[in-house]
């Protein structure tokens, strides 16, 4: 039995396939019981694999065999990911993006084909084969639906081939269809884009002409969201819920007019009503946004589902333009995966291609340098920068070794691949800038503050001795550990020294990356939010901020203080996000539900002021420690408890224990209980 499993796993790993990887993850997950384990094994055995051959692409074989599902009477859309039909993709498939669905809403496949057919090279041949494959797939679905007489759906599917979308429902079906194709072909972390903006003309037209009522529009949108949620387990990347299915709503246009319509509110209303962890909504906030939208967003946040998160247009857009994106593209930004700003439909960004662990070079320094020669903080920072440079350079080298899978579908979706006849994996996209996600910055800053305080200023012991104690995980040094944890100044405080220390490290990182180029000749960018605060800290040595071996790093831009919200936002707004430093910088905090409920209007004032102060992005967990502790003990009692983890929402019960514990710890700190 074990041999057999190993063989299957080997086969799957070789294929670098997301569905397979997820199944392996389940198998390796020791908490999975035997019964489920056998089911998973059967699942893998049932799977058919499709790979490229001399004459045919794997995709064209897949579409001929893929399982077509019939629709139930009350279903208005076709969407079915066949997890038993798997495309073999030996290289890394580009993921973590957000296509511009209006491309498929505004154009039929026929029109897209016309743009291609006049040209003649391998790239265009493959694009044509892809579109033909999509048509075959559509025809097979249509044939199946004829049996159940789903003529409305059939018409919408026919339209994909022949004309631009004809209605609101048609447009929704198109988004679903191409989204389904992307998932089916191994693309992970699929953003959904600015759907209120994309859909509003169709919605308005249908309402105006009596073809749609507001109630019906809501019902259809509800079905749309439920469909997108349905397969969240197989769509998830590292943790359950991490799908990247983010819908951006609202946002300013080039003239600073705030775009906001019925659908903006409808998306938020449905989030509140459905209470699903996925898909989730990001509100593009601005000082120009209506107070009502903030109020509705806050009501939704109050449900505890961790959404919407806010991205501050007034801060972000300038940074994108300064970095080099076209003005129009920058104003139309969305996000990929969690909160990394992404140029919708134009980019091969790979926004979290590497983890920028600020702590690693700091530990390297402590391990390799003669600590007795350090007398002041400036010298220590200078040396740290040397190590940081080495670390970043190595990281870049490693990233540049990655080969990406050729990708006809994504090339069709992302500008300028078709225009220039170049596959996205070879740099065909208009923008090819890769992103790193920074973690551990707070731990480095707090460590340095503590070293400065206790070693350089108070001289309580030698730096070497201090380091020995750290290496021994502060064993028998509880008093010192307590002091390190509670020392006055901390990352997250709007104190000049703390801010300047953080900015110094950030700006230096920025400089190191400035002239580096990735394998697609794009630039690198980074941010100080990261999904890796637990994964990167596992078995990681203890640090002078009072973190013991293996304890998590600090989360994004956060604070240990209870209710220190204005302080934290002020701190975040003083971080320098210019140049290449905009790859996700989210303020993250806990609030108890009652705190918001009892102070709803004041909390709105707080959000309005915070936008003006200038946070980059903001997300919050609205839950009490009491509830989390109960749910940890009795998961069955809280099957639908949703929490915000790094950049997505998830069912609390689905999270690994270390994440549950860390959430509880942070909730307790917020309440001032520890």
């Amino acid at each position: 039995m074990l041999k057999k499993i190993k063989k299957i796993i080997k086969k799957c790993i070789g294929k670098q396939n997301i569905f397979c990887m997820i199944r392996i993850k389940y198998i390796c997950d020791k908490t999975y019981n035997n019964h489920k384990f056998i089911n998973i094994l059967k699942t893998i055995q049932k799977t058919k694999f499709y790979s490229n051959s001399k004459n045919k692409t794997g995709f064209s074989k897949l579409v001929k065999n893929i399982k077509i599902k019939d629709l139930k009477e009350n279903e208005n859309f076709y969407y079915n990911i066949d997890m038993f039909s798997v495309l073999v993709t030996p290289n890394e498939v580009m993921g973590n993006f957000c296509i511009d669905y209006s491309l498929f809403i505004e154009n039929s496949l026929e029109e897209l084909k016309n743009k291609i057919s006049s040209k003649n090279n391998d790239f265009y041949m493959e694009e044509l084969e892809l579109i033909n494959g999509i048509e075959i797939y559509l025809d097979r679905i249509i044939e199946k639906l004829k049996i159940s007489k789903k003529y409305d759906v059939i018409t919408n599917l026919e339209n994909i081939k022949n004309c631009k979308a004809q209605s609101y429902t048609d447009a929704l079906q198109r988004i679903l269809f191409f989204n389904m194709l992307l998932w089916q072909t191994n693309h992970r972390l699929n953003g959904l884009g600015r759907l209120d903006k994309i859909l509003i003309d169709y919605y308005d037209y249908d309402i105006k002409n009596g073809l749609l009522t507001k109630e019906k529009a809501k019902e259809l949108l509800k079905e749309f969201l439920i469909i997108l949620h349905r397969d969240f387990k197989i769509k998830s990347n590292v943790l359950l819920g991490d799908t990247g299915q983010i819908i951006e709503v609202g946002g300013i246009d080039i003239n600073n007019n705030y775009l906001c319509n019925d659908l903006t509110y409808l998306f938020i209303e449905l989030m509140e009503e459905l209470k699903l962890p996925d898909p989730k909504v990001l509100v593009r906030a601005s000082k120009y946004m209506p107070k009502e939208l903030i109020s509705e967003s806050l009501k939704c946040i109050l449900t505890g589902i961790g959404c919407p998160i806010f991205a501050n247009d007034d801060v972000i857009i300038d940074k994108l333009i300064n970095f080099g994106y076209d003005k129009e593209a920058a104003y139309n930004y969305g996000t990929s995966a969690c909160w990394e700003p992404y140029i919708i439909g134009m980019s091969s960004a790979q926004n979290n291609i590497g983890s920028l662990n600020f702590m690693q070079p700091f530990i390297d320094l402590l391990e390799n340098e003669d600590l007795s020669k350090f007398n002041n903080l400036d010298d220590l920072i200078d040396k740290y920068q040397t190590y940081l440079k080495k670390f970043v350079e190595n990281l870049v080298l490693k990233i540049n070794e990655i080969t990406f899978e050729k990708d006809s579908l994504l090339s069709l979706c992302i500008a300028n691949c078709v225009k220039d006849g170049k596959d996205i994996s070879l740099g065909g996209a208009k923008y090819n800038n890769f992103g790193l996600t920074g973690v551990g910055l707070a731990n480095v800053v707090n460590s340095m503050i503590n070293i400065d305080e206790f070693i350089f200023k108070k001289n309580i012991m030698s730096f070497e001795k201090f380091n020995d104690i750290r290496k021994e995980n502060f064993k028998n040094n509880d008093e010192l550990l307590k002091k390190l944890k509670s020392n006055g100044l901390r990352y997250g405080e709007d104190n000049d020294m703390v801010v300047s220390l953080a900015n110094k490290i950030i700006c230096y990182t920025s400089k190191i990356l400035e002239n580096k180029r990735n394998s697609l000749n794009g630039k690198f960018k980074f941010g100080v939010s990261s999904p890796n605060y637990i994964s990167d800290s596992k078995n990681f040595p203890a640090s002078f901020d009072g973190r013991k071996i293996g304890e998590p790093f600090s989360v994004h831009i956060s604070t240990d203080k209870s209710n220190g919200y204005t302080e934290l936002v002020n701190f975040a707004s003083r971080i320098d996000y210019n140049f290449n430093r905009f790859n996700g910088n989210v303020v993250d905090f806990f609030v108890t539900p009652n705190f918001i409920k009892d102070n709803f209007d004041k909390f709105i004032d707080f959000l309005i002021a915070s936008i003006k102060v200038g946070f980059f992005e903001m997300q919050m967990n609205v839950v009490s420690s009491k509830k989390l502790i109960e749910a940890r003990k009795n998961p069955d009692k809280f099957p639908n408890l949703v929490v915000r983890v790094w950049g997505f929402s998830a069912y609390f019960k689905d999270l690994p224990d270390e994440y549950k514990d860390y959430l509880i710890e942070r909730a307790l700190k917020n309440e001032g209980a520890i």
């Binding site: 008093e479 919200y565 204005t566 302080e567 102070n599 004041k602 004032d605 002021a609 003006k612 102060v613």
Partner: protein, 255 residues
């Protein structure tokens, strides 16, 4: 202590319960009254006080210059926009007003809304300064029955005189009534309070019952927080109604 320095025990930003809007509350050390139920016992004494947290020596109170205090207050200026501002509390927030007058002038110039939480058992001089700068007075309404005044070391006639002054100067006043059986909540005192409210018709009355959140602080100061009888929700609602009948807005504050 330097002339331009004051002793504060803490500065609480994003404070939502000490006046309108989002506020920064400054807790000064020192109070003239001795209410046995005080929830901030560390702020009764006017001086910096040493205490122990486990084995660690710590202090209640630290000196801060007026310019640093101003800096702290202005940090959240943008959050004050919708009616928020600074609240001077304590202890008695009004007691250091003579010393902080230069700061008050600056804050007024910066158009920062100023509230003070006070027992109003203070000198005429302090009241006169306060009237010049304070936008809203949050005034304790505790024992106004002369013969029981000793229980909290208050001075009813001084208090009444100061209240009269605030109202004759058209100041905004919010009354805060802690409901403590045997002290503020006695038949006699409640009836006096109702008459008092009837006379002045303040913009708002906040009533609350005691909590014991300060108990640990009592212990750290080697003091013991006394036990008190608790008022029932029914009694609270009854009193609330009686005040409402007078045409005055009442809030029951649950901490």
């Amino acid at each position: 202590m330097m002339k331009d320095k004051v002793i504060v025990s803490s500065i609480q930003r994003f404070s939502l319960h000490d006046g309108p809007g989002i506020r920064t509350t400054i807790f000064f050390k020192g109070c003239n009254l001795k209410c046995p139920w005080c929830s901030n016992p560390e702020n009764i004494n006017f001086n910096i006080q040493e205490y122990f947290d486990g084995n660690e020596r710590k202090y209640y109170g630290y000196e801060i210059s007026l310019s640093d205090l101003e800096k702290e207050i202005l940090k959240d200026k943008i959050y004050y926009e919708n009616g928020g501002g600074v609240t001077f509390s304590g202890g008695d927030g009004l007691l250091p007003f003579k010393k902080i007058e230069p700061l008050l002038q600056k804050l007024q110039k910066e158009k920062i809304n100023i509230c003070v939480e006070t027992s109003l058992v203070v000198s005429d001089e302090l009241v006169n300064i306060a009237i010049k700068y304070v936008d809203t007075f949050i005034v304790d309404l505790k024992i106004i029955d002369e013969k029981n005044a000793y229980k909290i070391n208050t001075n009813v006639s001084l208090y009444k005189k100061n209240i009269e002054k605030l109202f004759s100067n058209n100041c905004n006043v919010i009354f805060r009534i802690p409901l403590v059986p045997d002290y503020t909540y006695t038949v006699d005192n409640v009836s006096k309070i109702l008459n008092f409210l009837k006379k002045y018709k303040p913009q708002l009355v906040q009533i609350f019952k005691l909590h014991r959140l300060g108990e640990k602080k009592y212990e750290s100061l080697n003091m013991k927080m006394p036990e008190f009888k608790e008022i029932t929700l029914e009694e609270i609602n009854k009193l609330k109604e009686k005040i409402e009948i007078l045409g005055i807005k009442v809030e029951y504050c649950q901490i």
